[in-house]
Structures are given as C-alpha cells and as structure tokens.
C-alpha cells in the first residue's frame, strides 16, 4: 500500500491552520488522511493558546466543540450566560474583547493542562489572525 506525507490545510472553519507532514495512504476510495482528526483538533486548540491567536466567534465554536461542552456547560465555566456564548458563535468573524479572549485562553490552558504565563500583556492575543499557522502533525 502506497504511503506518503503531505500538508493538510484547515480544520472546520479555521482555514489558516496548515498541518505539516500528515501521514497519507492510498485506499479503494481515494487518498486517506491516516491520522485521527482528534490529533489535529488538539494541535489547533493548543496553538490557539500558545501562539495567542485572535479568538473570534469561529474560534469560540471550535474551542467549545474540541472541549466537548454544551453551550450551558461552556457558559458556566466562564461565569457567563449561554446567550453571551451564542452571540459570540453567531458572529464567526467578530473578535472577542481582550478580557474575554484572555479568559478563554486561560480556560483552554487549564482544560489541556498547559502552563501559561499570567501577566496581562502576555495573555493578550496577537493583533490579527495570521494567514498561515503551521503545525507539525507527522
């Protein structure tokens, strides 16, 4: 069976992630990405924290899904109303306020068991959503 590696672009609505060297293989149904999607999902989730990527409504939905939380559970963890979360998710391209971004980044770090710096300026996101964020999936 032929096997190779290639770069895979995007996960869900987040098309700026590029997964490098992803294992691929041939199959009866065409080329198959030979890695669990969960692996790529967790890489992207981790990058949202460690690379301080801007968090918009699209990222909120992705984060909530990756943490496998309902809107009510997610809202409760952030001490917000479920309406606030719904509002964010309904505006996929609108960036959250810095204080909300920090709260979300901190929540994701805790859920993933990541240690992050606690200074305000170090938790703020970078200015704009990058065109390309490369993650090694191989």
């Amino acid at each position: 069976m032929k096997r190779w590696k290639e770069d895979i672009i995007g996960i869900g609505r987040l098309d700026y992630f590029v997964f490098k060297d992803v294992p691929m293989r041939e199959s009866e149904w065409g080329p198959v990405i030979d890695v669990r999607e969960r692996t790529m999902e967790l890489l992207a989730l981790r990058a949202l924290v460690t690379q301080r990527l801007p968090i918009r409504g699209a990222e909120v939905r992705f984060i909530r899904g990756a943490l496998m939380l309902t809107i009510q559970e997610f809202a409760a963890k952030l001490h917000l109303t479920h309406g606030a979360i719904q509002g964010w998710e309904k505006a996929p391209k609108s960036r959250l306020l810095p204080v909300n971004e920090i709260a979300l980044r901190s929540l994701v770090a805790e859920e993933l068991g990541l240690k992050i710096l606690g200074h305000f300026s170090e938790l703020l996101g970078v200015d704009t959503t990058p065109k390309r964020v490369e993650l090694l999936a191989g």
Binding site: I9, G10, R13, V35, E41, R61, F62, G65
Partner: protein, 83 residues
C-alpha cells in the same frame, strides 16, 4: 457484539475514523468540525446503501443542524468518504 450500525456510530463518536482527502476538502468548504462528527455519532441513524458497502449516516451536528455523511468500514476503522 455490536452490529455494523452500532459500530459505525461508535466510530464517529469516539473519533475512530479517517477522512479521505476529498471528504476533508468538503468538510473545510462546509465548515464541518470534528465536534460535528462526534455529535453525529450520538444522534445519527445509519442506513446501508443498497448493493454497496457504503453507509449513509443522517443526524444532527454540534449546533443541532442536520448533517449527513457517507462512510465505509475498512476492517474496524470507518472511512468517511463524503459530506
């Protein structure tokens, strides 16, 4: 012993699936996330396409919207071929 239908839903819910490159492209175009596929594993109904090995799974995504996909079983691993 699980039936094929039960096994298909378990694969979706547990993440024991792979995407074809074509399905991945369709997922990106439609904004389908892994959470949508997991949710389909919890909500879906499995149909076996007549005269083929393909399963059609219909259910809801993470937002409660309808989602349908086509998949095949390659030994124990589910391969999603189409959204």
């Amino acid at each position: 012993m699980k039936t094929d239908s039960e096994h298909v839903l378990w694969c979706l819910e547990s993440g024991n699936y792979r995407l074809t490159a074509h399905a991945k492209q369709r997922a990106l175009e439609r904004g389908i996330e892994p959470a949508d596929i997991r949710t389909l594993g919890q909500t879906g109904i499995v149909f076996l396409e007549r005269d083929s090995k393909k399963f059609l799974i219909k259910g809801s995504d993470f937002s409660g919207d309808s989602l349908t996909l086509v998949a095949v079983l390659e030994f124990d691993v589910l391969i999603i071929t189409l959204f």
